[in-house]
């Protein structure tokens, strides 16, 4: 079985519009959360979000393409350009048909759907834009990145809500392992940060209402947590085999060594309370990497700051790691970057890879008083340095759709 490595990365996030800046901000414990800038209904109760700031869509995707696409596609093409440059993939000599593009998108262009429904209601079907459908479909993210990269291999998006990018990165790993591809551009994108997206997530009780103190609203594992903060963004990684990466002298951040995927088969939004589905995903990622639990140093948690996730995830970690759970470092970067939904796991995989290559773990900010049911070492407030051997990223989506990725130092 080939060893698969990460050779490029790019990100457009609420913490910065490139991977290195965003990681640096996370290590510094900065919050990307603030008051919502767009207009909302007077009845809207959630007034905070984690927006991408000062992103130049025309520079990323081209001026003519801006009105033809939804924001998640603008963001992902921006992130992909950075990842392609970072990896040197276009000059690597890969046959285009052997380069895949597998991305995760949870929802797609709900901004465009809302706009088109408005146009239909006001003026009827003839006023619908010809770009409405191609802009809204989630898979267009992969389509546009493939165009950008001239990647002519397998090209699709995976939807598993907040775990979408983890499944995408995992399936990209499997594609490389079974020899279907020589390189895969993977990651995720999402932008549901508009009045409809925020209102809809608010209605199901998922969002924090700590409007008066945005930077302290996302509080994973804290006793006072009251939900996640809606984010947006995109993050893209380039994967290829270690052998080829070495041969072409590519920069190597870390090995992507394992992927586990499972379903709770339990409830539409709640995780199984004992965390058993999550635990199976983590165990499967360890098995996939032929990795024993004792070398895992750090877990970038799903850590959404919803009451149910953080308890179930803590139980899952304890189930898999037993006594060792207490000596693991576990942190949630969602405390700073909010919840990027379909892009979340892609950014977190970048965090995991940079944590390994730099030897530093970003903190969980706002963890002032841990929930008694959340009793692991969540790296509160301040980053920590240590050489890391093995790092996990957990991701769990609505529908009980779980994925875990395992990264290893090369």
């Amino acid at each position: 079985m080939s060893t698969i490595v990460i050779t490029g990365m790019g990100a457009v996030t609420p913490l910065g519009n490139d991977a290195q800046s965003a990681f640096r901000a996370a290590v510094n414990g900065q919050s990307g959360i603030g008051p919502i800038a767009f207009e909302q209904h007077p009845d809207a109760r959630v007034r905070i979000g984690a927006a991408v700031k000062e992103f130049d869509a025309a520079a990323a995707i081209g001026k003519k393409e801006v009105h033809r696409h939804a924001r998640f596609t603008h963001l992902v093409v921006g992130a992909a350009k950075e990842a392609l440059t970072d990896s040197g993939l276009s000059g690597a000599g890969y046959e285009p048909g052997r380069v895949g593009c597998i991305l995760g998108v949870g929802m797609g262009g709900i901004d465009v759907i809302a706009q088109e429904v408005g146009a239909y209601d006001r003026s009827g079907p003839r006023k619908l834009s010809p770009f409405g459908i191609p802009a809204a479909i989630p898979n267009i993210a992969a389509g546009m990145v493939a165009i950008e990269a001239n990647a002519q291999g397998p090209c699709f998006c995976i939807a598993s809500a907040c775990a979408s990018a983890a499944h995408a990165i995992g399936e990209a790993l499997e594609s490389l392992r079974r020899g279907s591809t020589d390189a895969v551009i993977t990651g995720g994108a999402e932008s549901g940060l508009n009045q409809y997206g925020v209102a809809a997530f608010e209605r199901l009780g998922a969002l924090s209402k700590r409007n008066e103190d945005p930077a302290r609203a996302s509080r994973p594992f804290d006793r006072q947590r009251d939900g996640f903060v809606m984010g947006e963004g995109a993050a893209v990684l380039v994967l290829e085999t270690l052998e080829r990466a070495k041969r072409r002298g590519a920069k190597i951040y870390a090995e992507l060594a394992g992927y586990g995927s499972s379903s709770d088969a339990f409830h539409v939004t709640r995780p199984s309370e004992d965390g058993s589905g999550m635990a199976r995903a983590i165990s499967l990622a360890l098995q996939s990497a032929r990795q024993t639990p004792d070398e895992v140093d750090y877990i970038n948690a799903h850590g959404t700051a919803t009451p149910s996730n953080d308890v179930a995830e803590t139980r899952a970690i304890k189930t898999v790691f037993g006594a060792r759970a207490q000596s693991l470092w576990v942190s949630s970067t969602k405390s700073m970057v909010g919840h990027m939904l379909g892009a979340a796991a892609a950014f977190e995989t970048i965090v995991a890879a940079l944590a390994i290559s730099r030897g530093v773990v970003p903190p969980t900010i706002n963890l002032d008083e841990p929930d008694p049911q959340c009793d692991l070492d969540y790296v509160p407030h301040v980053a920590r340095e240590r050489q890391l051997r093995v790092v996990l990223n957990n991701s769990f989506g609505f529908g009980g759709q779980n994925a875990a990725l395992l990264l290893r130092r090369v």
């Binding site: 003519k64 009105h67 033809r68 003026s123 834009s129 191609p134």
Partner: protein, 92 residues
């Protein structure tokens, strides 16, 4: 009339397709010379409807092949409108 419509259409199309006004000539084809695809043509017709206060039936989209054809088509219909000033579709 032709010149006025031509100038107004040039502004709309060059902005939307992100092209230089120099290539917007009467004999230019939207698809061949101006870089539009079939979706852009539908989008441009919607913008023309909005800007010129017209309702353009689907069967008339064939008139939006070249700039000359489009300007003649719009001129013939816009002349029947009270004023050749941009009118937002929602306002008519």
């Amino acid at each position: 009339m032709f010149d006025q419509v031509f100038a107004q259409l040039r502004t709309i199309v060059c902005e939307r397709l992100d092209i230089s006004p120099e290539i917007f000539t009467p004999d230019a084809s939207f698809i061949e010379q101006l870089g539009a695809d079939s979706l852009d043509v539908i989008d441009l017709v919607l913008l023309v409807e909005e800007q010129f206060g017209l309702q353009i039936p689907d069967e008339d989209y064939v008139h939006f092949a070249t700039v000359q054809q489009a300007v003649e088509y719009i001129s013939a219909r816009a002349s029947k409108m009270p004023a050749l000033t941009p009118v937002h579709a929602d306002a008519v």
